[in-house]
Amino acid sequence: MNIFLEAFLNVLAMKNIIAMMLLIPLGMMAGALPGFTATMAVAILVPFTFAMDPVMGLICVSAVYCSAIYGGAFPAILINTPGTPSSIATCFDGYPMTLQGRAQEALFTIAFASLVGGFIGTIGLIVFSLPLAKIALRFGPPEYFWVSIFGLTIIAGLSGDSLLKGIAGGVLGLLISTIGIAPVGGDVRFTFGIASFQGGVELISVLIGFFCMPEVFKMAKDPVGSYLKSTNIGHAAGGYKEVIYKGFRNAFADVVNLVRSSVIGLFVGILPGAGGNIANLIAYNETKRASKDPESFGKGNPQGIVATESADKATIMGSFVPLLTLGVPGSPVAAVVYGALMIQGLNPGPELFTKHAEITYTFMMSFFVAMALTVLIGMFAGVLFYQIIMRLPVRVLVPTILLLTIVGSYAVRNNYMDVIFMLASGYLGYVLSNLGFSPGPVVLGLVLGPIAEKGLVQGFLMGNSMFPGTPWLVFFTRPVSIVLIVISVISALWPIYSARRRRRAAL
């Protein structure tokens, strides 16, 4: 107990609090800019931390990471654009809430959900680090393959009305994800002659294109104010206290959802190579599945955003489990932190818990404080954001959003091709969404494709050496794989089961 208390008090040093208060708004702005990811924000911060002592540096990292992920929800809710890939699923119910005039309610709902998600994640990090890390190690290539298959079964939940279109969209996403260098074999594939396609397609470009562009075009349709008109309903009704209370109630209305989503976030976060991008989608799907009223999801059910925003916060802490226990970064941000630790002379791994215990525990405890401060500042920032967006006339809002998204998609990799691709996906997304294809499945395919392919081909190589002649056995003969296969089958068959259940209930 003593170490924890001491570590916690360490966090509360004046200079740390001041640093956090300065960095959190910046991190939030970075996250709120579609295209600017948490990874970039942390990467930019890290050189500045070299001048600080390691503890303060790490505390700054946790502050920026938490606030950037939090900020990603703002554009997701207000303009249907995930500010970071961790907020993809937040769009699904967040944006409809905005269109129903419940934007403020949504913003406060995520505040409380994030707080709980962050807390559960931090407790997981502190208490269960070692056992969690051991579980993470059991995941080899075949297991990652099955994880991505499980991820793909979520397509059913995201397909909207047509399962066929959903599956086709998912497969399209998988295909697009193969552009670039093959994970095994090093072939350069599908570059269509464009040199920068060797780096593959940038997820952010497609996210912005698919989610944001169609909405921006629609906004432009009625510049005298359809967006503002519809979102302003109920804007002043009841004042802030009422809206905050509604948000609080939403977050805790279904505690099972809240806890389950946070745990999902924590678990997915510990898998190196999986991470925040899919945690929110999985949590969303599970909530929808467990709900008594799945039809209401996608139309503004606050439980949707409760699920996604608690999951993606827990993922933050989860991604540090492998880094701190094994010295293996569990996410791109953890990789940046890994580099920062190395430069500071701290070797990630068991040494962190022995030689540098105070630093490590202080870092872990700092997530409590960082998350709490983030939520606090976030509530104000959210309102500010909302006011700005609502006040601006559409004729100014449209080009401004375009400017920010163009800059955002460029800034990710310093690659102009990404901007062109963003716009192209925008047009494609517009056409596809009007033809009844939801963006969710395509994005899911895009995110899971690389994981699936790597798992498949690496697993095949393993199988070749373990079972010469029948390499495929390796995918079906490992305990963790079998568990994952069972989960995937249940998940895939679930829509049929629930449809039948509903029909029976309707009789």
């Binding site: 890290v46 090093g186 464009i194 040199a195 920068s196 060797q198 780096g199 970064p329 890994y338 690496q458």
Partner: protein
């Protein structure tokens, strides 16, 4: 007409002024901050090296060094831009062997040719090293080779990338030892570590830097250098055990092909000075890097040699 002449005059004036400034800038290089482009992910070896070099470079060159990233295609995206960069020496790009040699040989449109990149210097090497888990049945390289001979294809070795130093190294070692091991590529050295720790691969053909980080978990069997590496004095080289296998990745700096020689030389000197600074050298070696130095002319020859060598290895590989 009058207006037109006035505008023309102003435009010409601007051009003249910039032109003058341009040439002055060249004379007193560096006048502005220099952008150091890293072709790989933040937190990786190239990034760590650059950040370690940064403060020393800034002191030697007397200007700010700004580190930016241009990630993708195993470095190809960044290197494909080099031929088009302005030859003023204000943008330097980190590059690697064997990547810059193998990529144009292997791929159809990398966007650059090996000879397009004007190498300023090579300043660092990360040799290949063969490691197994601490509790593995293989305690020495002999155990490993013996088992491999008796069970061809069963040993799996993870490594970073396809057609990379790790991959080619495994192939080269297989050839020299007369064994057959299966190479499993991962996207980056760090990516292979969980698989290694979880026992999903038998061992790793990885870089010395990885072993420096995971000393307690990795048991090195041999290192692919001419002489033993200072941080692992007990690890034999493949050569001393009878296998002529020396391989690894090299890191260096390149600039736009038409960059004037004075600027190239000035940069090369700066990097040389940094490399020879005792604290820097110590820090890097502790992390597992081997500091080497090839200046501009030596680099050209070095690259040519390596190109010949890799071409022959690739021909052998084609038969697989």
């Amino acid at each position: 007409m009058r207006r037109f002449m006035a505008v023309l005059a102003i435009v010409l004036l601007f051009v003249a002024v910039f032109g003058v400034f341009g040439s002055i800038a060249e004379a007193a290089y560096p006048e502005r901050p220099i952008t150091y482009v890293i072709a790989f992910n933040p937190g990786g070896e190239s990034d760590l090296t650059a950040r370690a070099q940064q403060p020393y470079l800034e002191k030697v060159l007397g200007t700010q060094i700004i580190i930016t990233y241009k990630i993708g295609g195993g470095g190809a995206v960044a290197w494909s831009e080099v031929p088009r960069m302005r030859p003023d020496g204000y943008t330097i790009v980190g590059h690697n062997i064997p990547h810059i040699i193998l990529q144009p040989l292997q791929r159809k449109d990398t966007g650059y040719k090996t000879t397009d990149l004007k190498t300023v210097c090579w300043f660092e090497a990360t040799p290949n090293i063969l490691v197994v888990p601490m509790d593995s049945q293989f305690k020495t390289l002999e155990d490993f080779v013996k088992y491999a001979k008796e069970h061809p294809g069963q040993i799996t070795l993870g490594g970073s990338g396809s057609y990379s130093a790790n991959h080619l190294g495994t192939v080269e070692f297989n050839e020299v030892a007369g064994i057959e091991t299966t190479y499993i590529p991962f996207t980056g050295s760090g990516d292979a570590v969980p698989a290694f720790l979880g026992g999903h691969v038998t061992g790793l053909m990885t870089y010395t830097t990885m072993v420096a980080n995971y000393r307690e978990k990795m048991h090195p069997l041999a290192v692919a250098t001419e002489e033993r590496v200072s941080i692992f004095p007990d690890v034999p080289t493949f050569k001393e055990l009878g296998y002529d296998y020396v391989e690894g990745a090299y890191r260096g700096i390149c600039v736009s092909p038409k960059t004037p020689d004075e600027i190239v030389n000035k940069l090369a000197d700066a990097f040389k000075q940094v490399n020879e600074t005792p604290e820097f050298k110590e820090k890097m070696e502790a992390m597992g890097f081997q500091m080497v130095f090839y200046g501009p002319e030596e680099s050209e020859k070095f690259v040519e040699d390596r190109m010949e060598y890799y071409k022959s290895i690739l021909d052998k590989l084609e038969m697989k």
